[in-house]
């Protein structure tokens, strides 16, 4: 029973990993740009949620959409102010620019918010409850379920709508997309907006049960990269599968071996999977 409890807990956390990782995989799939600042986007979103609560007095049903909207606009800003210019430059310029952005965001957060950890009150999404012997934290259940639905929603947006078709067309063949009248620039900006909005929602959800600090993005970025590699670059269903798997593996190894070693197990499995299947679980060779 405890094992089941651990697995469910891992799945709920994994769904949140899947949500912000699918934002990273979307940006990568659209324009082969690695956003090294992705984890710090989540950090920023967590602070937006925090300010939404403390300054504006908003509840989760408001500060999470607020974080999504702010991050959507922030994604557009990053695209137009930075990415669009460096994407014409050498690969190294692209890598260093998002890496530089990560450091800028992180140390700006130190400056504005100080290094102190802050948390939202854990009563925001009320307490614990039991389903058939499973004891669940309501905040984690809400976070996991919301993240799962939104990740599936993102996949449906991409595969079932005209807009998604245009996004994927640019991802697949920029020139061919232009030939049918799509403006690649707009689609790429939109991908940055959507990718950043996914960190907005994920950050708001994580803030419900996790501490907020300027460096919280570091470990989240690593998780996002592992998730995207494991799931296959550019694949949202892959990110979902990989995110859930990583959540469960983390929880299981924390329970069975010890919390200190959970990362070791995750990265060992990660290296192993890539050794066997370099294109990731659902990636195309």
């Amino acid at each position: 029973m405890i094992l089941l409890q651990v697995v469910v807990g891992g799945l709920l956390l994994g769904a949140v990993y899947a949500l912000f990782s699918s934002g990273l995989t979307l940006i990568w799939g659209m324009m082969n740009v690695v956003n090294f600042a992705h984890g710090d986007f989540v950090m920023l979103a967590m602070y937006v949620a925090f300010l939404g609560y403390t300054v504006l007095g908003l509840g989760p049903a408001w500060f999470i959409p607020l974080a999504a909207a702010v991050m959507f606009l922030f994604g557009l800003l990053v695209y137009f102010a930075l990415i669009r210019h460096v994407s014409r430059g050498p690969m190294l310029a692209q890598i260093l620019s998002t890496f530089g952005l990560a450091l800028l965001l992180r140390y700006s957060a130190f400056w504005v918010f100080s290094a102190n950890f802050v948390t939202l009150p854990d009563t925001l999404v009320g307490g614990n409850f039991a389903i058939g012997g499973l004891r669940l934290q309501a905040s984690r259940l809400v976070a996991g379920a919301t993240a799962l639905l939104l990740t599936i929603g993102l996949d449906l947006l991409l595969t079932r709508t005209a807009l998604g078709g245009r996004l994927l067309a640019v991802a697949e063949d920029r020139a061919a997309a232009q030939l049918v009248g799509i403006r690649p620039d707009r689609m790429q900006a939109l991908a940055w907006g959507i990718g950043a909005a996914s960190t907005g929602i994920a950050g708001g959800l994580i803030a419900l049960f996790f501490y907020i600090s300027p460096t919280v993005g570091e470990s989240l970025a690593l998780i996002a990269f592992v998730t995207v590699c494991l799931g296959g670059f550019g694949s949202v269903p892959g990110a979902l599968l990989a995110g859930l798997a990583i959540g469960v593996i983390e929880s299981l190894s924390a329970y069975l071996i010890g919390p200190v070693y959970q990362d070791v197990v995750v990265y060992a499995l990660f290296v192993l999977v890539l050794w066997v299947r370099p294109q990731g679980l659902l990636g195309r060779a």
Partner: protein
């Protein structure tokens, strides 16, 4: 060919860095005409079409399309103005279905009803595509891919259709069907500009042809004249 031509290219030059793509191309396409660009591999046919479609910027020269200079306009704007290209190598969205590819072809149309009309017309022209509408484009055969590339270009409701090597790599029977479809489209009033390595095929359907050699237009004339000129064929087209 008395009225002002629909499309007139004058002294077009394209450079890829230090490489010269084409150095001096001039051509014209009249309303309702079929015009062929002939020449061996590397003569500059693809570069010429890509420059007209806006995929590569011309270094110099003018491209006059229905009274407007479109040289250096972006590709998405050019297709919106009614000038479509079915590109070399098809460039299909292989991860998406046949119907999704066709729908993407109609991106420039504001009118949804018109898009559905065109879709029905493409399926009528190529019933094979209708059979495979739910299949991913990546699973199609070469001939079906060519049909889909042509269909996708038609979905933008073009006033002039450019085709880059519509016969390349296809079985003779498929090529014949493709050219029947092109002839039918032209009879219905659609002007065509096609790049073609197969001289015989092209001169059969074309009214007018241009011969390209190492990036320059070296010869132009009515198709029947070029077809009858054995010397021209031997020298410029490498046909025995």
């Amino acid at each position: 060919m008395t009225a002002a031509p629909l499309l007139r290219v004058q002294n077009l030059a394209v450079r890829y860095g230090d490489l010269v793509g084409v150095s001096d191309i001039s051509l014209a396409v009249a309303e309702g005409a079929v015009v062929a660009l002939l020449g061996s591999n590397g003569a500059g046919k693809t570069t010429t079409l890509n420059a007209i479609a806006g995929l590569v910027p011309p270094a110099s020269g003018t491209i006059d399309w229905r009274g407007r200079d479109i040289a250096r306009r972006p590709a998405h704007e050019i297709v919106r103005s009614g000038l479509a290209l079915s590109p070399e190598g098809w460039r299909l969205f292989v991860q998406q279905t046949v119907e999704q590819n066709l729908r993407l072809g109609a991106t420039v149309l504001a009118d949804r009803a018109r898009a559905s009309e065109l879709l029905a017309r493409v399926y009528e022209l190529f019933p094979r595509l209708a059979e495979r509408r739910r299949q991913r484009a990546g699973t199609l055969s070469g001939g079906e891919r060519q049909m889909l590339a042509l269909g996708r270009a038609l979905m933008s409701d073009p006033k002039l259709l450019m085709l880059d090597e519509p016969s390349l790599g296809l079985a003779p029977a498929v090529v014949e069907r493709m050219y029947e479809a092109l002839a039918k489209l032209n009879r219905e009033g659609l002007p065509l500009l096609l790049a073609e390595q197969s001289v015989e095929l092209a001169l059969e359907i074309a009214d007018h042809a241009y011969v390209l050699q190492t990036g320059r237009t070296v010869l132009a004339g009515p198709a029947e004249e070029l077809a009858g000129n054995a010397e021209v064929q031997r020298i410029y087209l490498g046909v025995a």
